[in-house]
Amino acid sequence: MTDALVPKVASPKAVLAAVTADHSEGMGYLETLPRRLVTLYLPLSLILLVLLFPFYWMALTAIKPDEQLLDLDRFNPFWTWTPTFKHIYKLLWETYYPSWLLNTMVVAIAATSLSIIASVLAAYAIVRLRYRGAQWVGAAIFLAYLIPPSILFIPLATVVFQYGLFDTPFALILTYPTILIPFSTWLLMGYFKTIPYELEECALIDGASRWQILVKIILPLAIPGLISAFIFCFTLCWNEFIYALTFISSTQYKTVPVAIVNEFVDGDIYRWGSLMAGALVGSLPLVILYALFVEHYVSAMTGAVKE
C-alpha cells in the first residue's frame, strides 16, 4: 500500500521539473492537450481513484453474496452480477441498527442545536457588544478549539459520572458542545463581522434592544453562516467516537460508529458483508446532507481556517 504512494509523491517534483525546463509560457490555456493529460488529468485521476476506492469497495462488499466475498479467484472481485440486499436487510431488521441510527441522529441534532444557540449569543457578544475583555475571551475560545477530546475523555468520564449522566444520551448531548461551540463561535464571529454595523446603529436609534437586533436583524442576515455552522457541527457529531465509546455502555444507547465497532465484530468469518453494510448505511445520511449543502460545508471548513 505504501508503495502505491511513492509515485504520487515523486510526481510533483517530476512535474515541476518537467515544467521548469520550459521558459516560454505560463498561461494555462496555452497548454497542449497531451501535456495537460500528463501533468493534470493523469495524476488527478490517480488521486481520485485512491480517494474513492475504499467507498466503492465498501458499497460492493455490502451487496455481494457471502460466497463471492471470500472467493476472490472464482469470481471477479471487482464486480458482482448477483447483488443481494441480504446484509442490509439483516442490518435493519435483525439488529439494533435503526435505534443506533436514531441515537446518533438525536444526539447530533440536540448537541448541534445547543451549540449553535450558545455560539450565536457568544459570537454576537464578542463581535458587537465588545464588552470589556471581549478579545481575550475570543482568544480563549480559539484555544478551547485546540484542546482535543483525546486528552479530555478520562477526566470527563469521571465528571460525567459525578453529574449522574453516565450511560445516558445526555452524556453525549452535553459534552459534544465543548467540541462544537469553539468552532462555531469562531465561524459566526467571522460571519457577524461582515454584517454592516450601520444596520445595527439604525435599529438602536429606533429603540430596539440588543436582543431584538440579534433576532430581527443579525440572524436573518446570517442564515448562510448558520447553515454552514450547523452542517459542519452535525458532521463532527456524527464522526465523534472517543466520548461515545467511553461514556455509553448499554447497547441500545450506542451511536453508529461505536456500535459497529463493538457489536458487529464477532468471530464470524462472514461478518464483512454486514460490517460494510453498516458502514455504508451509517455514512449515507452524511453524504446526502453534504451533497445538498456542499458550498456551505466548504465555506464552514475554509472559513474557520481563514479566521
Partner: protein
C-alpha cells in the same frame, strides 16, 4: 434625523428630569452586563465540560485514582512509573512517527492536489465536492473499509498485486510491526489529504491572477511562480491548516482503535490509545491521565510553532493586529 432626535431629547429632558433613568435602565444597556448574559451558555458549557475536566485531568495524573475509587495524591509517581515504562516510550515514538510521516505526506499530496484543482478543469465543482468525501464520512466507518482492505487473507490489494505477479504471497498488513505502522499511516493520510487540499485550494483561489500574469511577462518559470508568488502568499493558511492537521493527527484515536487497537506488540499504540487502554480498559485513571497530560507539551509546541508562523506573516506584510 439628528434634528429630530435632538428635538425629542430636549422635550424629554424638559418634561422629565434626570432621576427617572433608574440604575436598572442603565444596567440594561451596559455592555459588560449584557455581555455577561450573552456569554453565559457558552461559558457554562466550556467551564463545566472543558476547563474543569482539563484541570481535573492534570490533578488525576498526580493521584492513584482507579475506576470507582477516588485517588489519593501520590506526587509524580505516575510519571516516574511512565518514565521507566518501555511501552509508554514506544507509544511516544509511534505517535511522533505517525504524526511526522502522515503530516508531511498530507501536506505534500494535499498541496499538489490543491494546485491541480486550481487549474482550469471541466466539472471542477463536482470534482472538488467528490474530493472531500473521505473527510465527510465518519472516520470509524471508512476505517472499517480499510480494515477489510487490509485483511490478511482476503485483501483486495494483496490479491491484485499477486495477480500482477508483484508479490508471491499475501501481505500481512496489520499483523507485522512495520506493515501495521505504514498501513495506519496510509489510512490517516488518505483521510487527511482532502481537508488539506480543499482548505489550501481556498487559499489559492484568493491569489490574484494578475500576479501570475505579471510574473509571466517577467519571464518566470512555472516553478519560480510557485516558489515566489504562490508559496509566500499561501504561507499563513498553510501554517493554520498544518497546525490543525498536526494536532488532530497527534491526538488520533479512532483509526488506530478500529484497525489495530495498538497491536501488534504495541507497535501502533499512540499516546491516546495507550491512555484509553490504561485508564478505561485497565481502570488506572491516574496513569491514563498522566499519559494524556504528557501530550499537552507536544500540543503546545505545535500551537506555538504555528503562532510564530503567523506572526512572521504579519511582520512581512507590515500588518497591525487585526
Amino acid at each position: 434625523m439628528t434634528d429630530m432626535a435632538e428635538l425629542a431629547l430636549k422635550s424629554a429632558v424638559a418634561d422629565r428630569p434626570v432621576p427617572d433613568v433608574s440604575p436598572w435602565d442603565r444596567l440594561k444597556v451596559n455592555r459588560d452586563w449584557l455581555g455577561l448574559w450573552f456569554m453565559l451558555p457558552t461559558a457554562a458549557f466550556l467551564l463545566l465540560f472543558l476547563a474543569y475536566p482539563l484541570g481535573l485531568g492534570v490533578w488525576l495524573s498526580f493521584t492513584d485514582a482507579r475506576i470507582g475509587r477516588p485517588g489519593e495524591f501520590v506526587g509524580i509517581e505516575n510519571y516516574e512509573w511512565l518514565w521507566d515504562d518501555s511501552v509508554f516510550w514506544l507509544s511516544v515514538f509511534n505517535t511522533l512517527l505517525y504524526t511526522g510521516v502522515a503530516s508531511t505526506f498530507k501536506f505534500a499530496i494535499g498541496l499538489y492536489l490543491a494546485l491541480l484543482l486550481n487549474q482550469h478543469l471541466p466539472f471542477k465543482a463536482i470534482i472538488r465536492a467528490v474530493v472531500l468525501i473521505p473527510f465527510i464520512v465518519p472516520t470509524v466507518l471508512s476505517a472499517i473499509a480499510f480494515w477489510w482492505i487490509f485483511d490478511s487473507q482476503f485483501s483486495i490489494v494483496s490479491w491484485s498485486l499477486r495477480k500482477l505477479g508483484l508479490i508471491a504471497s499475501n501481505i500481512d498488513f496489520l499483523g507485522n510491526i512495520w506493515n501495521a505502522r505504514w498501513s495506519v499511516i496510509f489510512a490517516n493520510i488518505w483521510r487527511g489529504v482532502p481537508f488539506v487540499a480543499i482548505t489550501l485550494l481556498a487559499g489559492l483561489q484568493t491569489v490574484s491572477p494578475s500576479l501570475y500574469e505579471a510574473a509571466t511577462i517577467d519571464g518566470a518559470s512555472r516553478w519560480q511562480m510557485f516558489r515566489y508568488v504562490t508559496y509566500p502568499l499561501l504561507t499563513p493558511i498553510i501554517a493554520v491548516v498544518m497546525t490543525f492537521s498536526v494536532l488532530f493527527t497527534f491526538t488520533d484515536f479512532q483509526l488506530i482503535w478500529v484497525l489495530t487497537r495498538g497491536g501488534p506488540a504495541n507497535a501502533t499504540h499512540l499516546m491516546a490509545t495507550l491512555g484509553y487502554q490504561r485508564a478505561i480498559g485497565g481502570g488506572y485513571l491516574g496513569e491514563g491521565s498522566a499519559i494524556a497530560t504528557a501530550m499537552i507539551p507536544f500540543l503546545l509546541a505545535a500551537i506555538l510553532i504555528s503562532w510564530f508562523g503567523l506572526q512572521r506573516r504579519k511582520w512581512q506584510h507590515g500588518e497591525s493586529n487585526d
